[in-house]
């Protein structure tokens, strides 16, 4: 038949994938499923994602996975190279390095992920208010951020850590060290996110569909949550995947300068710090370094993949 669009009898049942609004040529795909479809095609991103999932699982079930405890010292077996008994070898106090790397993943990853989530909450709300309200409020809020950013990050971090270390809130030293690092990094980390969210909100605010929604009488909250947030989530997720590895690195840096985790707890940063001094026993730096490096790489590749997948301009490639 010469007619390309089938005419429908309003009483007939609707064919699958077609809604009452009118005829379409393909099943409806949300921004999300579209993004994930494109992401799946990116092999590097998929492998990275699986690797990150694997590390996260190891971190979560460290007690089950690790062959030994992270603090049990066996002086008779100190500074051994990799063997069947100790896959990654042992350190200068005879502790199993593999177990310390696994428990270290728990510390490093929880610092990375938790900090990113808190940064997102604070930064997201702050940025959204600033971008949505605009005008003087926006100017004031952005100047506040400028002031915070003018303080060198490292200085701010050290200051927060020193202040936090001097107060005694927690019973468990493990929790105390973690909370300190995590607090310090969150204070520093939300600023960047706030700027990005603000920029995105301002951009999307002016788009036609938002105008249309407002013209139809949608209230501010509805517009913000129904129309703006879903549309800016893509870039935010991408930023997060870059933020997590930088948090992990910063934790290792803090531990490196002695402000982070205290012994006997291990994180990848602590292990690298201990390891690089031992020139005669390279396994002490190779394994934790490799763990840190591969995770960083995976996060970066996944981030790249996500950016490509959710960037509207990349849609037709």
């Amino acid at each position: 038949m010469p007619i390309s669009v089938p005419t429908l009898n309003p009483n007939d049942p609707l064919p699958e994938g077609v809604d009452a609004a009118g005829p379409v040529s393909a099943p409806a795909r949300s921004l999300w499923s579209d993004g994930f479809r494109r992401l799946r095609k990116n092999r590097a991103a998929v492998v990275s994602g699986i690797f990150i999932l694997f590390i996260c699982l190891m971190a979560a079930f460290a007690d089950v996975v690790a062959p030994y405890s992270f603090e049990t010292q066996n002086i008779d077996e100190m500074l051994q190279g990799p063997s069947a008994k100790h896959w990654f070898g042992t350190d200068s106090l005879g502790r199993d390095l593999l177990s310390r790397v696994i428990y270290g993943a728990r510390m490093s990853m929880s610092v990375g992920v938790l900090t990113a989530i808190v940064s997102l909450l604070i930064g997201g709300i702050y940025g959204a208010i600033s971008g949505w309200v605009g005008g003087r409020v926006d100017a004031a809020m952005m100047r506040a951020i400028d002031i915070l950013q003018a303080v060198p990050e490292l200085l701010l971090l050290i200051l927060v850590m020193v202040v936090f270390n001097s107060v005694d809130v927690f019973e468990s030293p493990e929790l105390k060290a973690l909370t300190g690092i995590f607090l310090a990094l969150s204070i520093v980390g939300w600023v960047g996110l706030a700027r990005i969210v603000r920029g995105q909100v301002m951009q999307v605010k002016q788009s036609l569909y938002v105008e249309a929604a407002q013209a139809l009488g949608a209230k501010g909250r509805v517009v913000l949550f129904r129309h703006i947030f879903p549309n800016i989530l893509g870039p935010i997720i991408v930023v997060l995947t870059f933020q997590i590895p930088s948090n992990v690195l910063f934790e290792s840096f803090l531990s490196f300068i002695g402000l982070g985790l205290q012994p006997p707890f291990s994180s990848w940063g602590v292990l690298c710090n201990d390891g690089w001094k031992a020139k005669t026993d390279p396994h002490l730096i190779i394994f934790p370094g490799l763990a840190l490096y591969l995770t960083m790489l995976a996060f970066n590749l996944l981030g790249d993949g996500l950016r490509d997948a959710f960037d509207p301009k990349m849609k037709n490639r």
Binding site: E71, T72, Q73, I75, M78, L79, S92, L93, Q149, E153, L154, P173, V188, G189, V191, G192, R195, I196, V239, F242, Q243, S246, N247, L249, F250, S252, F253, F256, G258, Q262, P263, P264, W276, K277, A278, K279, T280, D281
Partner: protein
């Protein structure tokens, strides 16, 4: 974007490390160049310069105030005392230095005859008044020297040091001739000349100090008498000393002595390997097992002890049973195994290899006893005990601390929180407000048990434990004046029992060994039991 900037410090650090290593490779065997303020550039000829690693910025090279080994290394090359050491004998003995000879009939009144024709680095002749000025400055309460007690055997010295006596003329030291100083002690003391080998009793130029105040130790101001002179002090970087051509004793073979301040032991080893440093006076435990095989390696037993001190006024260390329990809960052999450098485990306070050492003294490793003592102390659940511990930043101390942390947890269930501080900060912490538990060590100033046991007297500035015991003080004073060797040994045994078995204000860990790496081009490097580094007889090729 901000999240990238946070990666930067880490990379910056890596770059710095890489830069240091690469510079180290290119500079091998080259002459060092330094810039002396006011005198311009100066080239230090490689074949006449010894470069030694010093571990930290010396807290003070004012020899009346210095208390640590880093500062001592510098002051002992800049200054001389009345008496020096002769290390050629198996047991180090005293030898004439600024004093040509000395005599005493009763070991109580000592007369020192000074060497003639000795001049200070500014050309002024050395005289007996400088000796008296030195003693006065050490004892002066305003100086607040931690070594003031060294001269407490002098008549009225303690009263003067404590501010009860204002007139220094009544203290037992005076000029008795153009080249003579006479010292009068309260009681006979056979080893008195040993005290005068220590930098705290060195003579001083009071006029220089009056003129420059606290800044008198800066290179432009300091006036010294020893084999070297201070040429340049770049704080936190290096000290350069130059040969004193007017030195009266064995003239240095070296033209320059450079002390490079390198905190990180691994960095120091890298610099040594690349030929930028000639000698290291301590090595990290982790690397000893490898370095041991090298021909540059030299080890010598020394009179140092390592101990964990308590602040007996702070919880939970105010309870003597807990202190005793901890002494029982630490396996010293395990610590020594971790260090793997030939150290000797020890439960007494007098180090191995010294008169007065008793092998069986002290509380030995015994978990059952430790647990029993904790029960007696009223702790049914030892996991509730938390100990705050502090140490200075050092790889070996860190290793020991982590091992003891694990031992206490394993043996008792007690947890210990480790904190590290930079050396200067740490010294101040233990002086002003000692934490419940802290690491400390002591290096013998002279080979006599008095040097160790008097540290814990109630009036010693080096006693950070807040433990004060009159009976102990009396025993130490009695032993110092006792001339019968066997009776002296018994008194020290009694004092040690109070210290390490009864009251336990500290837990001894081990007697140390000095490990050195000395470049092949260096000859005659001074390795000795007292770890005194005087470089006037060193030669370099």
């Amino acid at each position: 974007m901000t999240h990238f900037s946070s990666i930067r410090p880490f990379f910056a650090l890596l770059c710095v490390v890489a830069a240091v290593v690469s510079v180290g490779c290119t500079k091998k065997g080259k002459d060092l160049e330094i810039t002396v303020p006011g005198q311009g550039k100066l080239t230090l000829p490689h074949k006449e310069t010894l470069r030694v690693r010093i571990e930290t910025e010396p807290p003070s090279i004012d020899w009346h105030k210095a208390t640590d080994t880093t500062s001592a290394l510098v002051t002992e090359n800049l200054m001389d005392g009345l008496v020096g050491y002769d290390f050629s004998k198996p047991e180090p003995d005293v030898a004439p230095a600024l004093a040509e000879k000395w005599r005493s009939k009763d070991n109580r009144v000592w007369t020192f005859t000074l060497r003639q024709g000795v001049v200070w680095s500014d050309g002024q002749p050395f005289g007996p008044q400088h000796v008296v000025d030195g003693f006065k400055r050490l004892l002066n309460p305003m100086t607040a020297s931690e070594y003031a007690y060294f001269l407490y055997p002098l008549k009225n010295a303690r009263a003067f040091a404590e501010g009860k006596l204002k007139d220094f003329a009544q203290v037992g030291v005076r000029v008795t001739g153009p080249n003579e100083v006479t010292v009068e002690l309260d009681k006979p003391m056979s080893y008195f000349p040993f005290l005068l080998t220590h930098h705290s009793t060195f003579p001083v130029r009071q006029d220089v100090i009056d003129k420059h105040g606290d800044r008198w130790t800066e290179p432009a101001n300091i006036v010294t008498i020893g084999p070297f002179r201070l040429k340049l002090w770049e704080h936190d970087k290096q000290l350069v000393m130059e040969r004193n051509d007017a030195y009266y004793g064995v003239k240095p073979q070296l033209k320059y002595l450079v002390g490079l301040i390198i905190q990180e032991a691994s960095t120091a080893i890298n610099l040594f390997e690349s030929g930028r440093v000639d000698a290291l006076n301590s090595l990290p435990a982790q690397q000893i097992r490898e370095l041991k095989k090298r021909k540059e390696f030299k080890a010598v037993g020394n009179l140092t002890i390592q101990y964990y001190g308590f602040n007996i006024e702070k919880k939970p260390m105010d309870n003597v049973k807990i202190r005793q329990a901890i002494a029982h809960a630490i396996d010293r052999q395990e610590i020594v195994n971790v260090l793997a450098g030939g150290q000797i485990p020890m439960t007494s306070f007098v180090p191995v290899g010294m008169f007065g050492y008793e092998a069986g003294r002290g509380r030995t490793f015994n978990i059952e006893k430790a647990k029993g003592l904790l029960k007696e102390a009223g702790y049914d659940d030892p996991t509730k005990i938390k100990i705050e511990f502090r140490s200075n930043q050092n790889e070996n101390h860190q290793l020991i601390a982590e091992n003891i942390q694990a031992q206490l947890k394993r043996n008792l269930g007690v947890s210990m929180e480790i904190k590290n501080e930079e050396w200067k900060v740490f010294l101040n912490t233990v002086k002003v407000d000692p934490p419940p538990m802290y690491r400390f060590g002591w290096q013998g100033d002279y080979p006599d048990p008095d040097n160790f046991l008097n540290l814990m007297t109630s009036y010693s500035e080096n006693n950070r434990t807040r433990w004060k015991n009159k009976k102990y003080d009396d025993l130490i004073e009695k032993a110092a004046t006792e001339s019968d060797r066997e009776r002296r040994r018994q008194i020290y045994a009694e004092a040690q029992k109070m210290l390490v078995e009864d009251d336990v204000p500290l837990v001894p860990l081990y007697t140390g060994v000095s490990h050195h790496m000395i470049a092949e081009r260096v000859e005659n490097y001074p390795v000795n039991i007292l770890a005194r580094y005087r470089y006037n007889e060193v030669r370099v090729k």
